[in-house]
Symmetry: C2
Subunit: 190 residues, 2 copies
């Protein structure tokens, strides 16, 4: 998606350790006009998928998922990273390793919000090693619902996550795929 690639080039910052900071518009400060265009693009790509629910994970997936959900006319469920006192229903649980935060999270969704028959689009801001996405896919599959696809804002194409997901036959649409950030220069997959 040209618009997103341009914004990454304009406002993204490459940091040591293959970190791409896009907090000016994607995951700390959030440019909702851009989110609207991203939502339209996912809707175009998944127009035939019969999506009736979007699943994302807190925190930075929530904004893009909500705007995209308006395009699909469906609800959003966000997976939670810790179990607060208010969670008392039957839970679906999985574990996700976050390399950014340097720890393993228990990730949960209340069972009643994902059901057999649901056609779920998973939305997230980043795909790198694929741990978060695999955890979300696991939650959907535990529920008996179907993963009809995954919509990612930025995929780090030089890490293994995207390949792993595609090798499983799961439809994955990343709006920008960064193939290299060597020397601070961002190269996109064409």
């Amino acid at each position: 998606m040209k618009l997103l690639e341009e914004r990454i080039l304009e406002e993204g910052v490459v940091k040591e350790g293959n970190i791409l900071k896009v907090d000016a518009f994607l995951n700390h400060q959030m440019d909702v006009k851009l989110f609207r265009e991203m939502g339209k693009e996912w809707k175009r790509l998944f127009a035939d998928a019969g999506v009736n629910k979007i699943l994302t994970i807190e925190a930075s997936g929530i904004g893009i998922a909500c705007v995209a959900a308006e395009e699909f006319g469906c609800r959003v469920v966000f997976a939670k990273k810790t179990q607060g006192k208010n969670l008392d229903g039957e839970l679906l649980t999985t574990q996700i390793t976050s390399f950014t935060k340097g720890r393993v999270f228990d990730v949960i969704v209340e069972k009643k919000f994902l059901n057999p028959g649901d056609r779920v689009l998973i939305i997230d801001d980043f795909l790198a090693n694929g741990c978060a996405l695999e955890g979300l896919i696991d939650l959907v599959q535990q529920s008996g619902a179907e993963v009809v696809g995954c919509g990612i804002a930025i995929e780090k194409g030089f890490q293994v996550g995207g390949q792993k997901i595609r090798d499983r036959g799961i439809r994955l649409e990343s709006l920008a795929i960064v193939d290299s950030m060597e020397g601070g220069t961002i190269t996109f997959r064409s």
Copy 2:
């Protein structure tokens, strides 16, 4: 806001300890059609406030803030509850006690995203004792920006938060104010 009150009555669940669960439509599963109507209502209420930025806090404020931001034509910044490895800019920090999670969080915003001259609307899903909201107000005031108001989805009118904020002369618009949940019966302020 009639629509929100109706949804609280239909899908809200009162639990022991004065807990109101609205996770079917507000803060776990998210009904973005309802969020759009809430965003329009905040826009109507704060039409004259010159809002150019919305501040919220992860995680459950993000969805409503993003949809509302489209109504205001502005960006959203969400305050983060812990310091991840990717945060390396100059930070504004405050502390918030979460009674739901039973702990104190360090809450941060990168300084560059709140600036003198910004006219900030703070959006959050719940207001009870007011700790989260006071933390967010503190962050804005540290930055030199102005808090032009606070938009809350559900205020627990029987707790002290709303009164404390209004007593400081800060404009606070809660779309539904629950004055009592005694015996599981929800009574709204008219």
